[in-house]
Amino acid sequence: MMIIQKNHIRGLASAGKRMDGRKEDDFREIKIETGVIENAEGSAKVSVGKTEIIAGVKMNIGEPFPDRPDEGILMTGAEFSPLASFEFETGPPSEDAIELARVVDRGIRESHMIDNKKLCIAEGEKVWMVFVDIHILNHDGNLLDCAALAAAAALGHAKFPKYDGEKIEFGEKTDKGLPITCKPIAVTLTKVGEKLLTDATFEEEGASDVKLTVTTKDDGNICAIQKSGSGPLAFSEIEKAFEISVRKGKELRKLLE
């Protein structure tokens, strides 16, 4: 991005303004559509402004990890399809894609959103494996919040496939959902100039050098934090970020009901 444009965006922010007229802590319009992929056990397409992401949940039967013989397995992956941005490239997942997947994963895992013990079929032998795959369709900033929302929505609506104890009938879903205990919501604050903006656009991210993602649970507790970007943060900024994340997290959680 040109320096002049970055400075313009920073100037606006310092004056409490944004290019699209939003307030500091406004999200863009959010749309959530579930059940969009019939082949997936669960799926959701979420758009936040022009950012658009599909998350899909696939399940299968597998062996548990030896150190957790009575728990199901959760795997979260993310592909930044080159379709979604001139910045993305073909090839193995980039550092950014890996980070996004791992932060979304930590939100789900640490909040105990899914009661893993209920995914155990036969201790030490057979458990349900739940794969969450995040696929970016268009990148206009704030991928992480959008991805976490899509993952939570897809998991919330997923249904177990038919399973006779031997073999899964993929494509035939039961009406039994995953054992969901809560809904983790990620809210990212992007520092532009001296302000912490909610739901930054691609351009705003380009004018920023640091952001903080805080994932919160229904009870207001924090279950995951990730600072990202090459800039530093002051303690007071972190305090402020917590306040906004908890507050906006509650608003966003309502969209999942």
């Binding site: 997936a40 022009k50 696929h135 206009d140």
Partner: protein, 230 residues
């Protein structure tokens, strides 16, 4: 003979074509045929780096076909497979005859195809989407490329195979076709079928392509005509 989904032998599955679905791309399109869904985006022409990969007299066309992990009944591992690499190649060669690549020397044009949901005919759906995306990007073309598979089930030449029809058919024959020039740009066959039958299957597939072509044109008009009117 009745088909699983009640179609006649020469019917396509329900077809949706939309242009301009990926705001970031220079051109893009969405195509669904029944439960098969493809999204394509075009970036370019843009400068080619590194320089030693530039082609001096035309644009370099790159085509990536990618199945999203949750698109199929059993999860697909991300990353290219031998199958997807072959499809990248035949897709590129299905599109190349339509594009005036020589208008953009030393550049690259990237066509990315994501299969979002898969139920037979993903390569043809991808080509249909890619062709509209190229036009949507304003890349000069000889014509649109439409693509569909046909086969023969029992005694009947059957268009746009889906579901279990892929096992019942004597052959699975996908083609890509450029109606403006009456040329075939992709053709593959798996099966066991006489040359005469094969010709008839090709003819049926060509008719199918013409229907798809109409929907492709309509999608581009829906996207661009209102804009021009504004």
């Amino acid at each position: 003979m009745a088909r699983e989904d009640g179609r006649k032998a020469d019917d396509l599955r329900p077809l949706v074509v939309k242009a301009g679905v990926i705001p970031n791309a220079n051109g893009s399109a969405y195509v669904s045929l029944g439960k098969t869904t493809a999204v394509a985006a075009v970036y370019g022409p843009r400068p080619m780096h590194p320089k030693h990969m530039q082609v001096s007299d035309r644009a370099y066309l790159k085509t990536v076909y990618n199945m999203v992990p949750f698109s199929t009944k059993e999860r697909v591992r991300p990353g290219p497979s031998r199958r997807s690499k072959e499809i990248c190649k035949v897709t590129r060669q299905a599109l190349e005859p339509a594009i005036f690549l020589d208008k953009f020397p030393k550049t690259r044009i990237d066509v990315y195809i994501d299969i979002i949901q898969a139920n037979a005919g993903t390569r043809t759906a991808g080509i249909n989407a890619a062709s509209v995306a190229l036009a949507d990007a304003g890349i000069p073309m000889r014509g649109l490329i439409a693509s569909v598979a046909a086969g023969k089930i029992g005694d009947e030449y059957t268009l746009d195979l889906a579901g279990k029809e892929e096992e019942a058919t004597d052959c699975d024959l996908p083609i890509a076709y450029m109606p403006e020039e009456e040329k075939i740009t992709l053709m593959q066959l798996d099966g066991d079928i006489s040359p005469e039958d094969t010709k008839n299957v090709v003819k049926l597939a060509i008719e199918g392509c013409k229907k798809i072509y109409a929907a492709q044109r309509k999608a581009l008009e829906d996207r661009w005509v209102p804009e021009v009117k504004k």
